[in-house]
């Protein structure tokens, strides 16, 4: 475990993973778009509008997956004080916010023709909006302190506390009478969705995941360089003070 807390090794891993993940993610998204837009038949109830699912559902999954990553990284940072966990958390936050924004906007664009409204304050929509604000809050809190470590710690605590929102999002459609439809894929043994519609969804989901990984690697590398630059600036300041 402590081997992976080594910034050098961590840096090597993110540098090695970044490009293959980006290219594979892009390829999968292109395959998913082709299958989802040209091959999958129109839905018997929702007609062609159901194709919004191919960006909406993977984005919503990623919004929650990213937050789980943010919360776990933050917890590891708080408990073991591993700098690389903080680097990872900082790298995840903007990507998670972006996926959440996509889920919210595409959901709204789907809601208008299907439900007749852009937005409704039901449990699912409200809890996902809260998720978006948690990401924004995390990013704002990081920068709200003069000492970077203090910001990192405060934001990590927020991320860990906010994890209670994840089960609320997941089960909101079962616990409350929501307008939002239940899970598209509930049972893997007998999915309620035809294979021709399922494959593009899985391709898009995996593609989004790989793009997310590539972006986190990119941001993590950036953060490692920034930290190195900060320590050199400290050295320079000390040198001048002598």
């Amino acid at each position: 475990m402590h081997r992976y807390a080594n910034p050098t090794l961590y840096g090597r891993i993110v540098d090695r993973v970044r490009r293959p993940a980006a290219l594979a993610g892009l390829a999968l998204i292109l395959v998913g778009l082709y299958l989802g837009l040209f091959v999958a038949p129109p839905d018997y109830q929702q007609g062609e509008s159901f194709r919004i699912m191919y960006v909406h559902v993977p984005a919503a999954w990623m919004a929650m997956f990213s937050y789980a990553g943010l919360a776990v990284s933050s917890a590891v940072y708080l408990i073991w004080r591993h700098g690389v966990a903080d680097v990872t958390a900082k790298a995840i936050a903007p990507a998670g916010a972006a996926f959440t924004a996509i889920a919210l906007v595409t959901g709204s664009l789907w809601g208008q023709p299907m439900w007749g409204t852009w937005w409704v304050w039901d449990a699912r929509l409200t809890s996902v909006l809260l998720l978006f604000f948690l990401y924004l809050g995390y990013m704002v809190l990081r920068d709200a302190f003069d000492a970077p470590e203090r910001g990192a710690k405060a934001a990590a605590i927020l991320a860990v506390v906010g994890v209670v929102n994840l089960p609320i999002i997941k089960f909101s459609v079962d616990w409350w009478n929501t307008l939002h439809q239940p899970a598209t894929i509930s049972k893997l043994d007998a999915p309620s969705i035809h294979p021709s519609m399922l494959w593009p969804l899985l391709a898009m989901a995996l593609g989004f995941t790989l793009i997310f990984v590539a972006i986190v690697c990119l941001r993590a590398r950036t953060e490692l360089l920034e930290r190195r630059a900060r320590s050199l600036e400290m050295q320079a300041a000390l040198g001048r003070a002598e």
Binding site: E48, R228, S231
Partner: protein, 87 residues
């Protein structure tokens, strides 16, 4: 049924064009923006570090290979600086 008609039918999305295409467009714009912003931030960090290392503050830091600035190629960053930091 000509090819143009086929295309028009496809683009019309059964009357849902105004909802389907903005959804795909928004997702594309956000993800592309996220990627480009992250790349730009990496370039800035590399430039900042290169300037600092050029000051010769850290003699243990081996010369980093200059980042390739060709579009479409990811800059190669080796762990030299980190190695040096831990040395």
């Amino acid at each position: 049924m000509t090819a143009v008609n086929d295309l028009e039918t496809f683009l019309a999305m059964g009357g849902y064009a105004a909802y389907v295409w903005p959804s795909f467009g928004f997702a594309f714009v956000v993800l592309a923006g996220l990627w480009l912003q992250a790349r730009a931030a990496l370039r800035r960090a590399e430039a900042r570090l290169a300037r600092l290392e050029a000051l010769g503050l850290d003699r243990r830091a081996r010369r980093r290979r200059p980042a390739s600035s060709t579009p479409g190629t990811a800059a190669r960053t080796d762990g030299a600086a980190d190695d040096a930091a831990r040395a």
